[in-house]
Symmetry: C2
Subunit: 360 residues, 2 copies
């Protein structure tokens, strides 16, 4: 048999014990067909007769054969791996994103190479690794990863999608929630609720989510002839948010309405207000968040918030991925997924108007 010389190659003997997995050549030998026949059997839409196909499949099963995706990638120039970078994973929003994204990518035939980065943007070493693995695309699920990084990847021919982050100055594809509209809606709701002293708990200053949410909030307040809200920065981090809340609520003229740039910080704010300062949240002080993470609905918080529907956002992400990777076009660099105000009890509800408790 022609394959015999391969069977006694020294590579094989040198192979690490226990890691000698069967190859297409092994299967071919067992099935009595050529190695290409095996390849065809495992290639979608290749032309193989049912007869050979069956023989190959049987041999493959017996030998526990699985195509080596690495070798395949070498030829096809497609790894079916998507790099996913996530920050702030202690913010419940991101594990949820990971869960939904993971399933959606799996269905779409992609695997996830995960990068959990820390607050600071020292993502460059990780980036280098990403490029070594020839990922088909990169999804940056983070409010804080710079778009310069994204540009760098794109220069390498790796399509980039920013998730929950937008850079108006770049043409990088992005998926976001209704940050500006959401901020406006929150302001409208709080104004209708008769609040007088407005405050804003800011997240990372350079993030688009923070800028847009604050921008929407401020713009509505300004149009309503109200003064610019008080402000403190919590950098999207729990403990910093708690600290910022203390500062905000320690003023002589304490605010009666506090909009937090995301739910994660709002949870910190509620707890500082309630447990430390004994404030009756929902009556003396109204707190509103953004995202509608799981804990926002918990009985202990009942947080009113503007939602970012993760499922829909992920769906858009996958659509965009297909568009970019398969069709090599990129018509809509920014896709905004609509959310809605979820009214619970952490903020006073206007007596009249369109506002209704969302879930009681």
């Amino acid at each position: 048999m022609k394959l015999s010389h391969q069977a006694k190659s020294r590579k094989e003997r040198a192979a690490k014990v226990g890691r000698r997995l069967s190859t297409a050549t092994d299967v071919a030998a067992a099935a009595g067909v050529s190695q290409s026949a095996v390849s065809r059997t495992f290639t979608e839409g290749a032309s193989v007769s049912k007869a050979t196909r069956d023989r190959v499949l049987a041999a493959a099963k017996a030998l526990k054969y699985r195509p080596n995706q690495m070798a395949r990638s070498l030829m096809t120039n497609r790894s079916f791996i998507v790099g996913v970078a996530v920050t702030h994973i202690d913010n419940q929003f991101y594990p949820k994103v990971l869960e939904v994204l993971s399933e959606a990518l799996r269905v779409a035939g992609y695997r996830i190479l995960l990068f959990v980065t820390h607050g600071t943007v020292d993502f460059d070493p990780a980036l280098d690794e990403l490029l070594k693995y020839r990922v088909d695309a990169l999804i940056l699920a983070s409010t804080s990863l710079s778009s310069s990084l994204a540009e760098e990847c794109r220069a390498f021919g790796v399509p980039v999608i920013m998730f929950n982050n937008v850079d108006p100055n770049s043409s990088i594809a992005s998926i976001s929630g209704e940050n500006f509209v959401g901020g406006r809606t929150v302001a409208e709701f709080l104004v209708a609720g008769g609040h007088r002293r407005f405050a804003f708990l800011a997240g990372q200053e350079d993030s688009s989510t923070n800028q847009l949410r604050e921008g929407g909030y401020n713009s509505f307040l300004a149009e309503a002839g109200l003064p610019r809200p008080m402000r403190a920065n919590g950098g999207f981090q729990f403990s910093l948010a708690a600290e910022a809340t203390r500062k905000l609520l320690g003023q002589k003229k304490m605010p009666d309405a506090l909009f937090c740039a995301n739910d994660h910080m709002a949870l910190a704010a509620i707890q500082v207000a309630r447990q430390e300062l004994g404030i009756d949240v929902g009556r003396t002080l109204s707190v509103v968040g953004f995202d509608d993470i799981g804990a926002a609905a918990w009985p202990a918080f009942e947080l009113t918030t503007y939602s970012q529907p993760v499922d829909a956002m992920v769906r858009s992400t996958i659509d965009l991925l297909h568009q970019i990777v398969d069709e090599r076009k990129n018509d809509s660099p920014l896709s905004i997924v609509p959310g809605e105000l979820i009214v619970r009890t952490s903020a006073r509800v206007p007596k009249r108007g369109k506002w209704l408790y969302s879930k009681l």
Copy 2:
């Protein structure tokens, strides 16, 4: 030049536009050295003179060259990818694990291929993918992934490490916290606190964590001559845990001590007790959890709990990984990482004895 025929290969022309990345051959040509010289330059501990090395590096930089890890893996039989499977990602414990594990693996030179699986164990399709990518090892960070699955992987020559999950009937390497000892300690603490009516909120019945924690708890109570605690199952899920808590606290003889199989469920229990039933948690009812997740320390909960130190557990995991992958040995199939009782205010503290508030 010898390389010219490669330069006009039809593969190259066929390459997807924009994804023509430079190869070691390109760099070799630019630097005027052989392709193996390039390979050596990028291989730790290979013998290259500083002169060639510098020329190669310069050329590589100019061409934005990065070694193709896929091709490398094909030869070395090492992918430096570790498959990580996670379930229950809404339980704050797991995002934390992912964060720490991700960093530790990065430092150790590994990348993570992530699989987020859902409650049920339909992990098999994902498994198939894993094997295609020839991961160097598989870390199952989950209380619920069966060890039969792990055995299957091992049969394929893929080392498996179970994180926070132990199967006494298999010899699969595992990392766990002090489940049994922790359960006992909690019981000891509650008995010393003068509680009379004990309850247990169980997690997934077939999980080792649940069995061991409950076993430790029950064994201490039995030795103290106390009756078997009441019991309901919350399956490690928030809403089920809330439901189970309602059942438990709805008894005529309401328990005054509730040990929950993990913090995630304990948070549900506290909220049901406090918000729905108006129970004074920490006085009328003592609640204790397991894990010491971030939210356990939140002012809204102040949960007394037995800790599972994620950093130490991850360190052990990496040690084990090195042991198994590099040295092909596996002396210690089970490594138990010590935790401690973190005393907060969700459970009455014994007047005397060794118990002290951990963080006040």
